[in-house]
Symmetry: C2
Subunit: 141 residues, 2 copies
DNA sequence: AGACAGTTTAGATTATATCTAATATAATAT
DNA sequence: ATATTATATTAGATATAATCTAAACTGTCT
């Protein structure tokens, strides 16, 4: 049932449902913790068929372009990926760099005067601070 | 006068006002276009005294930690820096990766229930889409 | 079968950022 | 002024992240 959903979403975006692509989508579906490309590459290669690093990066890029996957850039660290499921914002930990989901809520649109000639595709909030684990650690010192 | 302001803000953060640090601050003050570390390094080395790459990165990191400078991560590209002046949001161009300032407006706080044990230091909106230059380019094709 | 576009691959290459450990500098104490 | 000390700088090596290359493979269509 999820298998079919993945297949359909790939084909709906004009992407062939290859074993390598499917594996990336399946891994993201099962791991909501915003893995890096390297982690995804490692993980999908524990099971057959093997996928190359270039393919993992190529596929992640294609999936982001197709709007099925989202990339979250983190300063000084590898980018992290998640499925574009329910809309949500993000929290990034200053200390460990982990990315966590935050409940979605609507954000006021900027005045069209301040938008100028830009074309806005999406907008997304980034909260920063200490994640629960790091907050606790820093409190107990 | 700006010179004094830079000096004071460095010392107020417990950072010595060295020639290299001053040069980074001065460059950011004069170039509001969110330069990369490499661009800052290049630029401050057109004038004496020469600063090394390591120092540029070290200083940018210290300045960010001190809250005087902000870093904006962009997926697949070098991080970009700006002075922490007036609060503002950011717009990142899908095509060219340029970062532009967007007028500040308050963002509703997430429900404390959804915050959990996190400690939020800041929150900041990222708009994405096409910058004016790229929007025009893509329209005329 | 043959043709073709899309996809995958290993490894090289580029881009970005950090580390190392020797040296220099600024602030403070004597 | 000189000594002491914590901070800061440096060149170059190293680490990490991402992309490129060109050849091989796969699925679809005729
Ligand atoms: Mn997410
Ligand atoms: Mn800015
Ligand atoms: Zn954390
Ligand atoms: Zn642009």
């Amino acid at each position: 049932m999820d298998a079919e959903a993945i297949k359909r979403s790939l084909e709906g975006s004009g992407l062939r449902c290859t074993a390598q692509r499917y594996a990336v989508m399946e891994f993201l579906m099962d791991h909501k913790g915003h893995p890096t490309a390297a982690e995804i590459f490692e993980a999908v290669n524990h099971v057959d068929p093997r996928s190359s690093r270039a393919t993992t990066y190529n596929n992640l890029r294609d999936l982001v372009k197709a709007g099925l996957v989202r990339e979250v850039a983190v300063e000084g660290r590898a980018g992290r990926f998640d499925l574009q499921g329910m809309r949500h914002h993000h929290f990034i930990c200053d200390r460990c760099g982990n990315v966590e989901d935050m409940e979605w809520f609507d954000v006021p649109r900027p005045a069209s005067r301040s938008l100028g000639k830009r074309i806005v595709r999406e907008c997304h909030l980034i909260f920063r601070g200490l994640c629960p684990k790091c907050a606790q650690r820093s409190a107990s010192r």
